[in-house]
Each structure stands twice: as C-alpha cells, then as structure tokens.
C-alpha cells in the first residue's frame, strides 16, 4: 500500500483516478467488512455490504468533508446499510462464525493455550451477536475498532453522555453473557 494520505487519495479519486480509489478500498475493506459482519451477523451479507459501502462512498465523495475521518465516514455508511438489512429482515441476525479465532493457531506454540484462546474468542463472538444492535455496535466501535467517545458520538448521531452510559451497559451485558453469571448491582 502507498503512503499517500487519505485526503490525497480522495482528491485524486475526485479527479477520476480509479487507482487511487482502489488504494482506499485496500486500506479500509477489512475494517468495513468485519464491522459489517459483526453488526449483521453474516459473513456473506457483510461482503455485499462492503462493496456497497465503497460504491456509495465513491458516488458521494463530493459530500465528504476533510474534517471528518474517512474510516469513520465509511463505517457510518456501513452501519446505515447494515441497519437497513436488519430492518428488512426483522429478525435476529444468524450467528455465522468464521472461526476468526483460528488465526491464533499460527502464532501460538502451545496447542492447549491456543485452543483455550480460540474457545474464549468464539464465545465472545457468540455473545456479541446476542446483544441488542445498540450495545453491539457501540462495543464494536469502542473496544474493537478503537474509536474515541467523540468519534462514536458523531458516527451514531448521539451525544457523548449517551455513549458513556450505553457503553457501560453494553459491557455489563456482554460480561453477563460471556461469564454466564450476574454481576453485582
């Protein structure tokens, strides 16, 4: 991948440089895909949405403001697309794990250790899928994607106070599902 900034690649894209846009896709496709996969609960649906996100982004590039972070803008488009799908389906998303935790196998010399890690992460993915969309998306954005409270507030169109309370409740709900026991009150 090149070292050109997002702003530069976006400007090149606006002038008709499709190679520059390909570079942007390469940078953010994994992030968009896994965000969509976790929010939607479907790997196949996530791939379609990932393509859809970049096409919508390409067509709307004129409306992107340089003061907004490009990946946050992409995830905002992805979130809206996922919510549309979830509303259309009107059902709880299917749990379709891709054994993401298997990536640990290559890095761990201890077979038993990696099996424990893999199991824990698989449990975590399952538990994440069982949360409400509200809790799931905020946990993904904060604890997996690493966005700041303000960035999350902007992306979800809520205030930072709501981010704080929703994140706290989401973490408590996830812990309860993962650990299978009630936390203190």
């Amino acid at each position: 991948m090149s070292e050109a900034t997002d702003d530069h690649l976006i400007e090149q894209t606006r002038h008709g440089d499709r190679v520059a846009f390909g570079e942007l896709i390469a940078r953010y496709q994994v992030q968009v895909y896994h965000f969509s996969r976790r929010l939607l609960g479907s790997a196949e649906g996530a791939q379609d949405i990932t393509q859809d996100v970049f096409i919508k982004a390409f067509l709307a590039l004129d409306s992107w403001r340089p003061d907004a972070a490009f990946p946050a803008w992409l995830l905002r488009i992805a979130r809206n697309a996922c919510l549309d799908v979830l509303r259309a389906q009107q059902r709880y998303p299917l749990v379709a794990l891709d054994s993401q935790a298997e990536q640990l196998i290559a890095d761990s010399a201890n077979v038993e250790e990696h099996a424990i890690h893999a199991q824990r992460l698989e449990t975590l993915e399952h538990a994440l899928f069982e949360l409400s969309v509200e809790h799931r998306e905020i946990l993904i954005l904060r604890d997996i994607e690493g966005f700041s409270y303000q960035e999350i507030a902007d992306l979800l169109d809520i205030n930072t106070g709501t981010v704080r309370s929703r994140l706290s409740r989401g973490r408590a709900a996830l812990m309860q599902k993962v650990n299978g026991r009630a936390t203190y009150d």
């Binding site: 390909g22 390469a26 096409i55 640990l104 975590l124 993915e125 604890d143 650990n179």
Partner: protein, 142 residues
C-alpha cells in the same frame, strides 16, 4: 453496607474518561473494595479479548469486484462541481449578454400625444373601422 462505585464510572475509568477528582475517588475505592476490583478485572479482560478479535480478523479483498462495478456505472453519475470561479464566469457571461442585447435593441420611443390620438381613431373615416364597412348593415347571405 459498602457503597460501590457506579459501573459506568468503572467503565469510564477503564477508558481514562474521568476527571482527575473522579479518578482519585475510583482509585481510593478500588484500593479497599474487592467486589469493585473483581468487576474492574473483568472489564479489563473483556476489553483485551475484544481487542484480540481485531488482531485475528481474516483478510478479504473486494477491490476488483468493486472497481468493476464502478466501471459499469455511467460516467455522468459523478458530476464535477463547479468551482466558484466557474460560477462567477457563468453569471458574468449571462449579465454581459443581457447588457449587449439591450444596447443592440432599437429604442422604442413613445408616440406624441396628438399622433397617439389620431392612431386610436385612425386616419380613415369612422366607417373604415369596420372591415366590411359598406356592407356591415346588410343581412348575412343565406
């Protein structure tokens, strides 16, 4: 009965989002409360595990399909916005066109009062106001 720290405070403490005074209060409480310490450890472990999910993400590549789909879209779907200079030039062109047009158009002078009076009545005798003046009193032919 021990009053525990609010879970939301512990969540914000994990993310370093508390004010200095709030941080101190949480730290002081954690020093003496095993229940809150346990909750804090669970929160930290949960966050570490969530971050681990990020590092284990498999790669995908939708570049080729996406760029192919973009190539199929009509070029006119992407409209280049005019710059303010281009807008200004367009407005100036229209204004100049109107100005030049108004100079080239012959000026219409209003007729004098006497001439206007005669024009209303016409130079011809009153009878001539009727297109078939000589026959207008006759009944139409059957």
């Amino acid at each position: 009965m021990i009053e525990h720290i609010e879970k939301q405070w512990l969540s914000e403490y994990l993310d370093e989002q508390l004010s200095s005074s709030q941080q101190r209060r949480v730290q002081e409480h954690l020093a003496g409360c095993l229940t809150c310490q346990a909750y804090m450890r669970e929160l930290q472990q949960l966050q570490q595990d969530m971050q681990m999910l990020k590092t284990t993400e498999c790669a995908i590549d939708v570049r080729a399909q996406t760029l192919a789909m973009l190539a199929d879209l009509a070029p006119s779907r992407r409209h280049k916005r005019w710059s303010s200079l281009e807008y200004g030039a367009a407005v100036a062109s229209v204004f100049c066109g109107l100005l030049i047009g108004s100079w080239l158009m012959p000026a219409e002078t209003a007729p004098s009062f006497d001439l206007a009076f005669v024009q209303v009545l016409g130079a011809e005798p009153p009878g001539f106001l009727c297109s078939t003046s000589a026959y207008c009193y006759l009944e139409p032919k059957k």
